[in-house]
């Protein structure tokens, strides 16, 4: 009985301990004064991490109180990553469709969420836009924040709004770039030179040492792989332009005449470039230790030396570098091979009246100079910043004075001219499941084939087999071909999706097994 009472006392003690200790240890400096008076509520669905959310809620509340007399409490919904949010919104708005599948008039829609924030410009253009409504920003806000509508050809806000026909459905509020992270310690032990380009991640010495994220789970990873692909396509395009000086294009010119784009030789050049990019990606996939389910995971793996290198978003890498030092993790943007893209925000369809006003004010706050600086101020430089976010503002004019910033960089000066082309991005929707089939479903066979190839002693034969492995069993023309029966609405779209994924898996697995067989045959 004594033992029972002792256990019970210990159980109760441990249960209440956090509540008792909290009062003693909570830092008074971080205590915000209790909200008095009416507080408005704003609901935002976002994949942003806790650090970002914790900075902007109190900052916006204080800004709103100082401008309009009332504070704001933000409720964040975090169902997961970008794909999870897409699914969530599709399910949610699915309840507000008529018999023809069209969205009901706005006054009949009450989604309960005002804003979607973060996930990348590609996701906003492709997946979120059907659920967004034009913003009602105050006059001059857009022009002041974006004196130019693009950065090195990448739109900083909704391209359909550039012509001035309607308010933008999304605006970028912060910039991201994608690059390489590597562990200098580990590279020194491997006696490898630091990586400088995407193709450096495909070298065979990195077998089992590369940290990559799953493109079907991480939107940012999908965009970063798209960069590799587009870089290769653009290289092929430039090669073609050099072979055809009679067409009169300059090196800096990015837009070709439609007639020239239809030339068979141009299409072939693009296809070769695309194939080359896919080769690089496949060899990277072969080097991958595994495919993480989030875009931040590669930084953790490289920082802990579980992997020697990886692909990561810039700010993830910078924050890690702050914490554990440059010897353990260093970030590099491949020169001329990465794009700087905006991370947007949008007002959701169905947001009306006071809530719409409040949602637009949040956007205006994010675009204001004070709101923009919060993205890169050092810890302690603002009462809202306990830990620097290390992200680059989207507003060009705030870079004039970077005092107190964690990073002394100006992406508007360093943008290299390489850009992500929106018309090439359209293939991403079909590419992601193919990548999933090739790299995720087929990973065991890919690993076996690659191990067999690397075990071949003859260097020339090994290289031939490596090239054969990376010769992906798909052409660009096949990817761009419209879907068959489903396009005519004759087949269940879900069935077609499932069957396609299976077919792709089988095609890639067969390819890997053929290479495996060739590699294990005696010379």
């Amino acid at each position: 009985m004594l033992r029972l009472y002792a256990c019970l006392a210990a159980f109760v003690g441990v249960l209440v301990a956090p509540f008792l200790l909290q009062g003693w240890f909570r830092e008074r400096s971080l205590e915000r004064p209790e909200e008095t008076g009416e507080v408005l509520e704003l609901r935002i669905i976002t994949p942003h991490n806790q650090d970002i959310r914790r900075v902007f809620e109190p900052a916006f509340s204080d800004w709103h109180r100082s401008h309009f007399g009332r504070g704001v409490a933000i409720t964040y919904l975090s169902p997961g990553g970008t794909n999870d949010i897409v699914r969530y919104l599709r399910d949610l708005y699915g309840t507000y469709r008529d018999a023809q599948g069209k969205l009901l008039p706005e006054e009949q829609v009450n989604s309960g969420i005002e804003l979607v924030w973060g996930g990348g410009d590609y996701a906003f253009e492709r997946d979120f836009k059907p659920f967004l409504k034009p913003m009602l920003l105050s006059p001059g806000v857009l022009a002041a924040a974006f004196p130019r509508a693009d950065l090195a050809g990448v739109a900083l806000f909704d391209p359909e709004a550039v012509a001035g026909s309607a308010g933008p459905r999304w605006v970028g509020v912060v910039l991201s770039s994608f690059g390489l992270v590597y562990a200098p310690d580990f590279y020194a032990a491997l006696r490898l030179p630091p990586p400088d380009s995407w193709s450096d991640l495909a070298r065979p010495e990195l077998s089992g040492l590369l940290a990559l994220a799953d493109p079907t789970r991480s939107g940012s990873a999908a965009v970063s792989y798209m960069m590799v692909l587009q870089r290769a396509m653009e290289s092929a395009e430039r090669g073609w332009l050099r072979e055809h000086p009679e067409l009169g294009y300059s090196e800096a010119q990015l837009e070709l005449r439609p007639a020239d784009e239809r030339l068979p030789s141009y299409q072939e050049a693009l296809a070769r470039g695309w194939k080359e990019g896919m080769r690089t990606l496949l060899l990277m996939a072969a080097n991958a230790r595994y495919f993480a389910d989030s875009g931040s995971r590669p930084c953790v793996d490289v920082g802990d030396a579980e992997a020697a290198a990886g692909v990561a978003i810039d700010f993830f890498a910078r924050v890690f570098q702050d914490q554990i030092g440059k010897r353990r993790i260093t970030y590099r943007a491949p020169r001329g091979a990465t794009a700087i893209t905006p991370d947007p925000i949008g007002v959701l369809y169905g947001t009306r009246g006071e809530r719409e006003l409040l949602a637009n004010r949040f956007v205006e706050f994010l675009l204001s100079p004070d709101g923009q600086r919060l993205w890169n101020l050092e810890a302690g430089r603002s009462p809202y910043i306990a830990r620097s976010l290390r992200r680059m503002p989207v507003r060009r004019d705030v870079y004039v004075d970077r005092s107190g910033w964690a990073d002394d960089e100006n992406p508007f000066e360093t943008a290299q001219g390489f850009n992500l082309r929106q018309r090439w991005m359209r293939q991403l929707g079909r590419l992601v499941p193919i990548w999933g089939a090739a790299w995720i479903d087929g990973k065991p066979e890919l690993d076996r084939a690659y191990a067999a190839v690397l075990a071949v002693r003859d260097p020339e034969r090994r290289e031939r087999l490596r090239q054969r492995l990376s010769d992906v069993p798909i052409e660009l023309s096949e990817l761009m071909r419209p879907a068959g029966a489903a396009a005519a609405g004759q087949e269940d779209a879900r069935l077609r999706t499932a069957r396609e994924r299976m077919d792709w898996s089988e095609r890639f697995r067969s390819h890997y097994l053929r290479v495996l067989q060739a590699a294990t045959e005696a010379d």
Binding site: V14, F19, G80, E306, L495
Partner: protein, 592 residues
């Protein structure tokens, strides 16, 4: 006349001889249909319905024809089989030693052997990462820290999954075996010994056949658990097993395959459960009758006691490694456990960060209704446990005491959650919320809308998922109570409700409480429901908060570990309480 006979026949078939019992059974059945079957149907429907709403079996056919999926099923089966065998190999000698021998420290060690069950899954992953990292503790111990190190988590992943699962699940077999051994009549063993049988022959020919039902019950549970386990394969990045394939594909838009795969998982798990129940269910009751005289354990001292203690200590040391790693991570300075046996620098800062973090312990300025992750978990798990106890009390009364003809169906339904992956149930509840919005629009009550107020669905999900433990504990307790007491009270004029309140419940209180404590433990550790249903930080339970923290760059993993240590200590004490209350009968709640 025939119509009256027919209605009486129907009433007998539906309500049984006691209409009151029949009414309670119907109410419980309806409740289980709503909280268990409805979410399952929502998910299953997605595997059989086309975009236009028509039925199709094509998805199922595609799944079964997909070599990637069938390979995943095969791998999951192999992992589950290996896990079960290894867990059995660990648990069998431990159970025999802890029941048949008495030595100093036996009670404490036997209690500690259950501690592996209380480790929050993600935090265990953190612990094992640093322990088995390429340049982690194990590599440093072996002196292999140069060059590429040893990628334990890369090359030996599947073995790692089996090892970690076996070390986490052996307590289930240990408990069921210990309970079964406690029920073996010692006179049978003595009789065999008197006839000249050696100890090994007695064990092989007498003891083992008698405990075999309990043994297979525990093994069935471990197999199903391992087969549907998500956290451990994810931790080791083994993505080509069924549970992870479902998890990774179920979040893809427009992909119906994972739902069809869930059907396959459910059929497989349910079939295994039914086979185990049919083959060994009758024998469990036959072997479960308590002997009149208890078998006195053999007292060991000195060297024999050391030999008896050794296996317990060894298994305990292995099983507690993840816990130790989590503890060390929680006191390691950020990034200080790198290429070293233990952290190079220690700090208590992460505990302070946890106490000051609004996600975990919000400031008073946020108002009394913002409990934080710690408060949320206690409220959710506590409420779910209370709900589970009420349901389990009713189900056990019907299953054990009533003559309702279809009471076996209630029994089966109450343990069905054991065979259903948590992820499936979570998406089922989410689908229910979406459906309600579709039907009711703006009139949808807040408690049915996961966006606005997910608490009710979270509590129901927790209660349903952990119902089997409370039911099994209540059934085991009620089976120990002679019906004569209730008949005597009834004969003295007590109403049925008074008999239950004054006679039955006090006698089964210890079993109910122990089952409730176990349900509380597992509800606190619930992952899938927490990840899917708790979408607003205000309503995050501990597991979701740990997940969020682990995504935070920098010290997130360390603060998550600090929170994990608190959870581990609390849940360990809960287990010890349950063990103190039930003793060897704790194993009864793990019988399917």
């Amino acid at each position: 006349m025939s119509r009256w006979l027919r209605s009486g026949w129907l009433r007998e078939r539906v309500l049984g001889p006691n209409p009151r019992h029949g009414a309670i059974a119907i109410a419980l059945l309806l409740l289980l249909l709503v909280v268990l079957i409805w979410p399952l149907l929502e998910v299953l429907a997605a595997g059989f319905l086309r975009s236009d709403g028509g039925f199709t079996s094509e998805y199922l056919r595609l799944v079964l024809a997909n070599p990637v999926v069938t390979r995943g099923l095969l791998k999951a089966t192999l992992i589950a089989s290996a896990t079960t065998l290894l867990a059995l190999g660990l648990a069998l000698p431990l159970a025999v030693i802890s029941t048949r021998f008495e030595f100093s420290g036996r009670a404490l060690l036997s209690s500690l052997l259950l501690v592996p069950m209380v480790l929050p899954p993600f935090v265990g992953a953190i612990g094992m990462r640093l322990l088995l990292g390429r340049f982690g503790t194990l590599t440093q111990l072996l002196g292999a820290g140069a060059g590429r190190g040893v990628d334990w988590l890369g090359t030996l992943r599947v073995y790692g999954v089996v090892g970690v699962e076996a070390l986490a699940l052996y307590p289930v077999i240990f408990l069921t075996l210990r309970a079964a051994l406690a029920h073996v009549d010692p006179l049978l063993e003595r009789a065999a010994a008197n006839l000249g049988a050696t100890r090994w022959t007695v064990f092989r020919r007498v003891t083992f056949p008698l405990v075999r039902p309990g043994l297979f019950a525990g093994c069935t549970l471990v197999f199903i658990w391992s087969f549907t386990e998500l956290g451990t394969p994810l931790m080791f990045h083994v993505y080509d097993v069924t549970s992870v394939q479902v998890f990774t594909q179920i979040v893809e838009v427009e992909n119906p395959l994972p739902y069809a795969l869930v059907v396959v998982m459910l059929v497989g798990s349910s079939a295994l459960y039914v086979v185990g129940k049919v083959l060994f269910g009758r024998h469990i009751r036959a072997a479960g009758s308590k002997s009149a005289t208890a078998s006195a354990p053999h007292v060991l001292r000195g060297v024999p006691a050391l030999f008896a203690r050794a296996p317990l200590v060894l298994v305990l040391a292995l099983a507690l490694l993840p816990h130790l790693s989590v503890l060390l991570t929680s006191v390691s300075a950020t990034g200080a456990w790198y290429r070293s046996l233990v952290p190079r620098e220690f700090t208590a800062a992460h505990y302070l960060s946890a106490l000051q973090d609004d996600l975990i312990m919000p400031a008073a300025s946020h108002g009394p209704l913002q409990l934080g992750a710690v408060g949320n978990s206690i409220v959710y798990a506590g409420t779910a446990t209370a709900l589970g106890v009420v349901m389990a009390s009713g189900i056990s009364l019907i299953v054990v005491r009533s003559r309702v003809p279809w009471r076996g169906l209630l029994d089966v339904l109450s343990v069905l959650p054991l065979a259903v992956p948590g992820l499936v149930m979570a998406f089922g509840y989410l689908s229910i919320s979406v459906q309600c919005r579709r039907w009711l629009g703006d009139a949808t009550p807040a408690w049915l809308d996961v966006q606005r107020f997910p608490v009710v669905l979270l509590v129901v999900a927790y209660a349903t998922r952990r119902l089997p433990y409370v039911v099994r504990s209540a059934v085991a307790g009620l089976q120990q109570v002679p019906e004569d007491y209730e008949r005597a009270a009834a004969n003295l004029g007590a109403s049925p409700a008074r008999v239950v309140w004054r006679i039955v419940l006090p006698l089964v209180f210890a079993s109910l409480l122990a089952g409730a404590l176990m349900a509380f433990v597992f509800a606190m550790l619930e992952v899938s429901d927490s990840l899917i249903l708790a979408q607003s930080a205000r309503y995050f339970p501990i597991t979701r908060a740990i997940w969020e923290l682990s995504q935070r760059l920098g010290d997130g993993l360390y603060v998550a570990s600090a929170l994990g240590v608190w959870a581990m200590v609390l849940l360990t004490l809960t287990l010890v309480l349950a063990g103190t209350l039930l003793g060897k009968r704790l194993g009864a709640m793990f019988r399917p």
